[in-house]
């Protein structure tokens, strides 16, 4: 497989995954804005912006935070490199360059998403359209993932899923980092509705609210939520699930065993940490530190993949 092809495939899935994260984040902000608080309504748009890594870009363009602007910036803005529009359009451009590494189904899925978002972008929309946009985006990403099933199980397939899980690991970790303080044991003592809402934001943004209920009996506690997000292998967005999948797809690559073992050695400590650690020990070590360390390991991994396979 051409190095350029592998690189493009890897980025296509990263962009598609990112598009989904962005859409889910917007949905969280939207739901929160419908709930009353003592002064008016909840306003989570600033944490949405920071979880999306879009705060800096947003404030060079706008002075104040409001739903219309955040929505436009995160969904449609071409100047925001991580907007859903930017992600889908970059994924489509990359797909155009590697059409031969794709089945027609996979190409059609991405091309169709692109054509549709072009149309959506040019339409006037109202506040109430936001959930539809989110739903649409998730559908598109699912269509892409589903169509990837039709691919030959060669290295290209595994580069696609390496991209998917590296992006997801990064996104989940960053989201945790924005909200880590609501999972600290002290938060339990504060109690009250606000904190429950904050937990729900976390669960919903990972589309795991119902899954969590199925996975854990009894009360919702911060420890259970932290366990769910970090160590639970059944949760398809947990850090542990992502790492396991990264290791799996890395080991499936048929090319260059030397490069793969080199990459794995850099990943070992994170892999072990999700296998052997307990939530208690992670919290004792420092949740924030743990997550920060995780993000930097993922970024190091991304660098190694680029250098070993794509250069």
């Amino acid at each position: 497989m051409l190095s350029r092809t592998a690189e493009n495939l890897y980025w296509i899935s990263r962009y598609m995954e990112r598009a989904e994260t962005m859409a889910r984040l917007l949905d969280v902000g939207y739901r929160m804005s419908l709930f009353p608080n003592p002064k008016g309504y909840h306003n989570e748009w600033d944490s949405v912006l920071s979880a999306a890594g879009a705060a800096q870009g947003y404030f060079t363009k706008y002075n104040e935070i409001n739903q219309e602007n955040v929505e436009d910036y995160i969904f449609f803005d071409e100047e925001n490199p991580s907007s859903v529009y930017s992600c889908i359009s970059k994924a489509r451009n990359n797909a155009l360059l590697v059409r031969t590494a794709f089945t027609p189904e996979a190409w059609v899925a991405i091309n169709k998403s692109y054509k549709e978002i072009l149309e959506l972008k040019n339409k006037k929309f109202t506040r109430a359209d936001l959930p539809n946009f989110t739903e649409w985006t998730i559908q598109q990403v699912n269509m892409f993932r589903g169509s990837a099933n039709s691919l030959l199980r060669n290295d290209g397939y595994h580069f696609i899923f390496l991209g998917t899980f590296i992006e997801r690991a990064d996104n989940s970790a960053r989201l945790l980092d924005v909200k880590y303080f609501v999972l600290l044991p002290t938060a339990d003592y504060i109690g009250g509705n606000l904190d429950n809402l904050q937990w729900i934001i976390l669960l919903r943004s990972l589309s795991s609210f119902r899954a969590f209920r199925w996975a854990y009996d009894g009360d919702v506690t911060s420890t259970k939520i932290a366990h769910f997000f970090i160590l639970n292998n059944d949760c398809s967005r947990s850090l542990s699930f992502c790492i396991n999948n990264i290791v799996y797809h890395l080991n499936c690559l048929k090319c260059s065993p030397d490069k793969i073992s080199d990459i794995y050695s850099g990943l070992k400590s994170v892999h072990n940490s999700v296998k052997d650690e307990t939530v208690e020990s992670i919290i004792e070590y420092g949740l924030h530190e743990y997550v920060t360390n995780f993000v930097s390991k993922i970024s190091f991994l991304d660098n190694q993949i680029q250098n070993h396979f794509f250069r």
Binding site: M1, L2, S3, R4, T5, A6, N93, L96, L97, R99, T100, P104, W107, V108, N111, K112, K115, D155, F159, L253, K254, C255, S256, F309, F310
Partner: protein
């Protein structure tokens, strides 16, 4: 005007009977719906092209639902004629880059050949594998009568359009499967396999594997035929590479893969000679591969088509093709050329200027339907403007009679109406010389128009060759 569906006494020709009754069953609602279906399909798969002065928009070529049908008898003649031409053109190329027998015989004046920029001096005394320069030749044919097919031009470099031949058939089979139960249409879907076999049969002498590595070299996604590049690579199961994927080392050509360098044996290039190698041709080329010609000349890789193959489809060389067939093959040409006047000859220029309103005048180096004058369709001003150009640069033009292109039933605003068509079959020249039974039928959608080019109001049709 010859009508493909109706005979002179207004009877439906036998081979169109089934299609005609099928047409009668379709209401205009169904036609609209099927048109929409086809259009959405082409958009989804991204079979688009960009127009010269408007290169940012992706358009699709209008697709007409009514197939263009050729009987087996008609096809046999076309096939023989095209194969004959393809062999002669390759013999000609080998000859003019080697011993030059055709010059010595006084059939083609060597000045004409040597002066052409498409004549590549660096190819002199070089012989590519199997002496084949042009493995894929698209021959543009027009029809003016029951048995009258003429060759309008040959395309010996990298003819495009074959993806339409294949995709048009796919969409027809998908939308109207019944038609293929009632008509025995010869298959075209094995073209990519045949193309791959052809390219593999042209491996260079340094290739040590029984399965040569073939790649398709594309200039990139901004090229108007990019869809076709991806389509053909995909169908053949070969890598589609760009210049940045390739490098030369020790007189061999490699591509960069996740597994390290991989040697390449045959390059099916879809970029022009000029951009092939910045060390040998245009030094500013960023889409070519530095050093690839050196690898080629030392037998490390084969480049298809060969550099310099374009001289064979030059409009000034075209007029000699019937002579070439006699000279190299000792055969009588099966397909005729269109009568052509060379404006560089004084007497012929005089004739052209006197009869310009009846003629088609073309730039020798033009293509795509640009830079031409169709006398009967032009205003006085356009004619006088073109006459001035002709006089100042007679060498740059040829003229041909305005051919009465045959007309084929076409859906215009959901009604059947006759529109003029041409035909481009694709001939493969490798270990075998073969023609896929079908081709690209282009149709001039504007009423009365002769211009079938997609950039100027042309559409395409599925082309059927019936089993006998």
């Amino acid at each position: 005007m010859f009508d493909e569906m109706y005979s002179d006494d207004a009877q439906i020709r036998k081979h169109y009977l089934q299609v005609n009754s099928w047409l009668r069953t379709m209401s205009s609602t169904v036609i609209s719906q099927k048109n929409f279906e086809a259009e959405s399909h082409f958009k989804r798969i991204g079979i688009t092209f960009s127009v010269k002065d408007d290169d940012m928009t992706e358009r699709i070529i209008p697709f007409d639902l009514i197939p263009r049908i050729l009987t087996n008898n008609e096809w046999v003649k076309i096939e023989k004629g095209v194969l004959q031409r393809a062999k002669a053109l390759n013999s000609f190329l080998h000859d003019i880059y080697n011993s030059g027998e055709i010059f010595k015989a006084g059939i083609v004046p060597k000045e004409i050949v040597y002066k052409k920029s498409s004549y590549d001096q660096s190819m002199i005394n070089f012989s590519p594998p199997r002496k084949i320069y042009s493995p894929i030749i698209g021959v543009d044919l027009v029809r003016t009568g029951k048995d009258e097919f003429y060759v309008l031009e040959d395309n010996c470099r990298t003819p495009s359009g074959v993806s339409y031949m294949l995709e048009n058939r796919e969409i027809m089979m998908k939308m109207f499967p019944d038609l293929f139960h009632t008509n025995r249409v010869l298959r075209v879907d094995d073209y990519p396999t045949r193309l791959l076999q052809t390219l593999m049969s042209l491996a260079p002498k340094k290739c040590d594997s029984s399965i040569p590595t073939v790649v398709l070299l594309t200039p990139g996604h901004l090229n108007s035929a990019y869809y076709e590049h991806t389509f053909l690579s995909d169908q053949m199961g070969i890598e589609m590479v760009e210049s940045q994927d390739l490098f030369v080392e020790n007189d061999l050509l490699y591509m960069k893969t996740v597994d390290g360098p991989k040697k390449i044996d045959v390059v099916y290039r879809r970029i022009d000679d000029e951009f092939l190698d910045p060390l040998c041709y245009n030094p500013d080329s960023v889409i070519g591969v530095p050093g690839i010609t050196q690898v080629y000349k030392t037998g490390g890789v084969n480049i298809c088509s060969a550099p310099g193959a374009g001289i064979a489809d030059d409009k000034a060389i075209y007029i000699f093709v019937p002579e070439m067939i006699k000279f190299y093959l000792g055969e009588t040409p099966i397909l005729d050329n269109v009568e052509t006047w060379r404006c560089e000859r004084d007497d012929e220029l005089t004739y052209v200027l006197e009869n310009i309103e009846k003629l088609v005048v073309k730039e020798v180096d033009g293509s795509g339907g640009y830079g031409m004058l169709i006398g009967p369709k032009s205003t006085k001003d356009q004619i006088s403007e073109f006459s001035t150009k002709l006089k100042s640069n007679p060498r740059g033009y040829i003229a041909q009679p305005t051919l009465d292109l045959s007309s084929s039933p076409t859906l215009i605003d959901n009604e059947v109406s006759g529109r003029r068509v041409d035909l481009r079959p694709f001939c493969l020249v490798g270990e075998k010389v073969q023609l896929c039974p079908g081709g690209l039928t282009r149709v001039a959608l504007n009423k009365g128009s002769y211009v079938v080019n997609s950039s100027q109001g042309g559409g395409v049709k599925d082309t059927w060759v019936l089993a006998d």
